[in-house]
Amino acid sequence: MHPILYDWRCAQFALAAALTITQTDHALAHGFAGDRFFPATILTDDPFVADEISLPTFTLDPTASDGSREFGLGADLSQLITPNWDFTIGSQWQHIRSPGLPTVTGWGGLTTGTQYQLFINAPHEAMALAALDVTWANTGNPAVGAPDFTTLSPTFDFGKGFGDLPDSLPWLRPFALTGNLSLNFPTKTQSMGAQIPNSLFYGFAIQYSIPYLQGEVRDIGLGPPFNRMIPLVEFALTSPFNRGYSGTTTGTVQPGFIWAGQYFQVGAEMIIPTNSLSGHGIGGVVQLHFYLDDLFPRSIGRPISEWW
């Protein structure tokens, strides 16, 4: 073979290999850490950056402590900028009925965020990210609680699968834990005559993956749809810590399940208030969530840095 032709073929091969490697790296998306797949949880922020969209999320909250009942219809988008960095945007349309008052409807505040993947440890099925979320002032209807102040929320999210437990504990290996911790800093100390406190938000999700059980530990013969189910319990608590609100922690516990398919997942959870300040009775939430990297692997399912 002529040396120039040989060099050209080598260059073609190297280019093809480089493209393949680049694509392969990028395709490690939406919640994989080694053998573990973390689904997108409804209440707890996910510990991974991704190209995903939740559309829609139906929420019927428990009756609030003031007797009002709220129904929400939300959408959230997460788009990768680079393989390790994404931005998020979301909002919720709300419908609130209060005893003796007219029903009010409208959009809550617009929330945006940016997230950076700190690490993914495949052997230990661990991952974490740092984020900054912002709920923007005057981007919704004040009648449904949309704020007239901006809130900044630095956040840390983590996930850990228990697949590295010893062989003597096989049935515990499908468990995984995800969690998040954030501080909320409103840019106003007062709004509409009320003090606005800083607060700590913390939440976590305990999940048991049937796909992991049947693919890594023991195939117990569960077929569709149960072979893609991930039962879980989520917890989320908000604790204000200044301006007279100390000791007024509110939160919810949300048992439910996620069914994770090839291109989308469906999640359904009960919403149970943790105390009387958080409300009473039981609510519920249902979410349809799409994996954009699987649906559109050659366009918006890729990081923006790879669009051109």
Partner: protein, 121 residues
């Protein structure tokens, strides 16, 4: 309310109706089964995935309890059924064996997995 619901549902349906999507290849089932005990030594491990596999970058190895390789060569994708991956085995003695696989689906999404099976004494 109705308009918002229609817009959100229409958006969801439009995304769901995407025609040419492919996705991550998950292990659907295997023979010998994941975590199973078999009475006689199998000649091969066969795995079925939820997506078609890319031959060039899909691998599987089988090792014994000491970490020695007991497969006879590279895993092969069935040309008639590209979701099926087969790796032939040496003659196995009783013991526990670990299967490690790395799958690249045809749209370059990668997944990995490990499982064990036992050959009865």
């Amino acid at each position: 309310m109705r308009k918002i619901l229609v817009v959100l549902v229409a958006g969801a349906v439009a995304i769901a109706a995407t025609p040419s999507a492919r996705a991550h290849a998950f292990l659907d089932h295997a023979s010998p089964g994941v975590g199973s005990t078999v009475p006689t030594a199998p000649e091969a491990v066969t795995m079925w995935f939820t997506q078609q596999l890319e031959p060039a970058f899909t691998t599987a190895t089988v090792t014994d309890a000491s970490g020695n390789t007991v497969d006879t060569g590279p895993a092969q994708i069935d040309p008639k059924d590209p979701t099926e991956l087969r790796v032939a085995l040496k003659k196995l003695s009783p013991g526990t064996y670990t299967v490690s696989w790395h799958a690249l689906s045809v749209d370059t999404h990668t997944t990995t997995g490990h499982f064990t099976f036992e050959v009865k004494p």
